[in-house]
Symmetry: C2
Subunit: 434 residues, 2 copies
């Protein structure tokens, strides 16, 4: 027996009709002969409404109580989905995170999964039941309190269950068709990627592609869980999860690309991110320990720094500038933390710029092709886009530009790397039948 | 340390402001020096809305899934109340029915409490926390599935916890001031009873008084839990639960009536019930086994029969008529069940009347006063009300009348037993300070 884990997000179960649509998809997978475990988010805006309610009562809810409140949303959607699947003639059983064996640490609001002990799920599957599990939640190992997993929590629940149960596939259903070579809203010629590696997807997700959260991809990579991202609104309901070709497959190698392996592109896709800010520490002494003081202060304030660039020191003053990017929402606490070490670390001032955007070019093919940066920089130069910062990994190049230049930069890079659909549409779509 | 259990119904926590009002009451009880356990229902119409949602998906939801769905409501209200109490400077911890140790049987939708094992509550109380518990829910002993307790479930949760924890008092907060001598909407001279015995309250609740469910009163009587019914909307927030005098106290004796013991009334109150129907089995052979066949059929259909009257048999035919009352909602299945035994039990026909009302006069003083029926029947006769059926218990007389006569009958009985407030207001209100 093959086992498929499917995850449906809040927009996929926004109302009773949506729940019924999802149930038809679940029933089809069951009828195709698979065991099916479904992970479901809270309906539509339920979670936001619950957060609003809490906000009317207190500005600082205890994490334990906020988690208890928010997990009510998934209880509602999972019970409704179980009813809808039953209505289609299949036995269905719903489980909370705690009942499903999602054991976490006690960090309320951002709990980490410690262990998955899905005994009740295995029993229900063996009895022929479809299993519906509440996403985003677990139970703390020590306190037995209900926890939530924080951002990307439902996707991560699905991947963790798929890993623990040895699933053949974990499908992440969402409201878009899959992973594109760039955001189709700003690059109309962007095309659906039929397949991408875990590594590439991780870089795309970490640098702004919103279709999957990097935490879920990281988990999938570590445990070798094959993923597939597809739309719950598409008309491919009867499509067998294991052999169907819609959406984007994310696998440990690029094996899924057999249909166009000969033309494996250098670059898989372009991600962009408008949510960051840039802070520059001006005139900091270029000597051992100065930069450490700055970043120790930031770490102490819980700031998640992304790119860091240190200028060449000015010989006359022995001072340099250090620029870094971080989520714009963390900029205020970062600036406060830095002001606290202004005297001890001896820098002259701080500059803060939240009008920045980040563009990232990702592709496993980059490893063997040294010319990628040159192609990117030329394309941006021809478009008149000034580069403020650069950082690279083995399979990614990221640049920070003025936010007003971001869309033009993404479009130029997409064209420069041959990703536009006019150029290779025949190859890609010929294979997928979509 | 004294322990007070408080229960707040859905209308008491209908929105964020209501939750804050309840929190002030909880905080006041804590500040008066008591340990406090709070049982809370779902907010306002939440439960009805969830049932609606399920109805849009299926006409016959599995009990297990419906219970999972409905228990989400109390999770929301309990977490919000815990936040609101914390906001007032007291530590508060919320527990689901399962976490609170409410162990039930597996009868989804109408589970019975099997055991209360409140270890986590005791630990939280010992740590100085106010404890908030979700009403209406528990966990099935064998399956570990979430269950709901059905009608009166939140009141019953409160009484069960009070019994298990050895509470000094269980307060049931509602949207009326307490238990009245009759429904003030139909008897404007009805007055608040400062005290009533468990037995009397049980009769009143079982026969139409809606302020408490008979299941909760029965539980309180069995375990000797002192109850107090009061309004969450009254302005007596600072009133100490144990010594305050508002609302109605329900105790195992009438000890709470010390302030007017000398004038202990013969009759405590008048209940009425419009929700019943009367069915008459016409011309049934007056021989052993015939009546048994009828009531066996009714029991098989799950019909909860209340009053039963059998006429004197007509000598000519050897046949009699049997009339009984039952909840109007069960009349159809009762009629169907009876038609199934029409031939075997040999009756001639069925009559169904849903235009009936029941009036019940309740009072512990009745035991020593044989004249009560005479007073009631005279009062009804003077008002021109015809009595259709009569039944009695040790401390109650009930009569069935035409539904159009019901209000006049309740008013006449209230006056005849000296319950009108003009007559005894000074004695009662002089004592309670309300």
């Amino acid at each position: 027996m093959t086992l498929v884990v499917q995850k449906y997000g809040g927009s996929s179960v926004a109302d009773a009709e949506c729940v019924q649509r999802v149930a038809r998809r679940v029933a089809a997978a069951r009828e195709a002969g698979h065991d099916v475990v479904v992970v479901v988010s809270a309906m539509g805006d339920t979670t936001d409404e619950l957060i609003d309610l809490a906000g009317r009562i207190t500005s600082g809810p205890a994490g334990r109580e906020l988690d208890m409140l928010l997990t009510a949303g998934e209880r509602i959607s999972m019970a409704l989905l179980a009813m809808a699947v039953t209505e289609l003639g299949h036995h269905a059983t719903s489980f909370t995170g705690s009942q499903a064996g999602l054991v976490t640490d006690a960090a309320h609001g951002r709990a980490r999964i410690v262990e998955v002990a899905p005994a009740r799920i295995r029993t229900a599957l063996a009895a022929g039941s479809v299993v519906i599990v509440a996403g985003f939640q677990g139970m703390a190992q020590d306190t037995q309190d209900v926890t939530t997993l924080g951002r990307g929590g439902s996707d991560t629940t699905a991947v963790a269950l798929a890993a623990a149960l040895g699933a053949d596939l974990c499908e992440i259903y969402t409201d878009v068709d899959g992973v594109f070579t760039a955001d189709p809203r700003i690059v109309p010629t962007a095309r659906l990627m039929p397949a991408v590696s875990h590594e590439e997807m991780l870089e795309l997700a970490a640098h702004g592609a919103k279709v999957l959260h990097s935490r879920c991809v990281e988990f999938a990579r570590r445990y070798g869980v094959p993923l597939r991202v597809r739309s719950s609104f598409a008309d491919d309901v009867g499509d067998d999860p294991l052999t169907g070709r819609g959406g984007t497959r994310i696998t440990s190698t690029t094996e899924g690309r057999t249909d166009h392996a000969m033309e494996d592109p250098l670059i898989s896709g372009i991600a962009h991110d408008r949510s960051q800010a840039k802070i520059t520490v001006v005139g900091i002494p270029d000597k051992p320990g100065a930069a450490a003081a700055v970043f120790t202060a930031l770490a102490g304030a819980g700031c998640d720094v992304d790119m860091i660039v240190q200028n060449v020191s000015a010989e006359a003053t022995g001072c340099t500038d250090i620029s870094f990017t971080l989520p714009a929402s963390a900029a205020k606490s970062a600036l406060d933390a830095l002001k606290g070490v202004e005297e001890s670390s001896g820098f002259l001032g701080l500059r803060h710029d939240d009008r920045v955007g980040k563009l990232s070019v990702v592709g496993a093919g980059m490893r063997a092709h040294p010319g990628v940066s040159a192609t990117l920089f030329s394309a941006l130069a021809e478009t008149g886009v000034n580069i403020q910062m650069i950082s690279t990994s083995e399979i990614r190049i990221s640049v920070v530009v003025h936010v007003d230049d971001l869309e033009a930069a993404v479009g130029a890079a997409h064209t420069a790397f041959g990703l536009d659909s006019e150029q290779i549409e025949a190859v890609v779509y010929g294979g997928t039948g979509r």
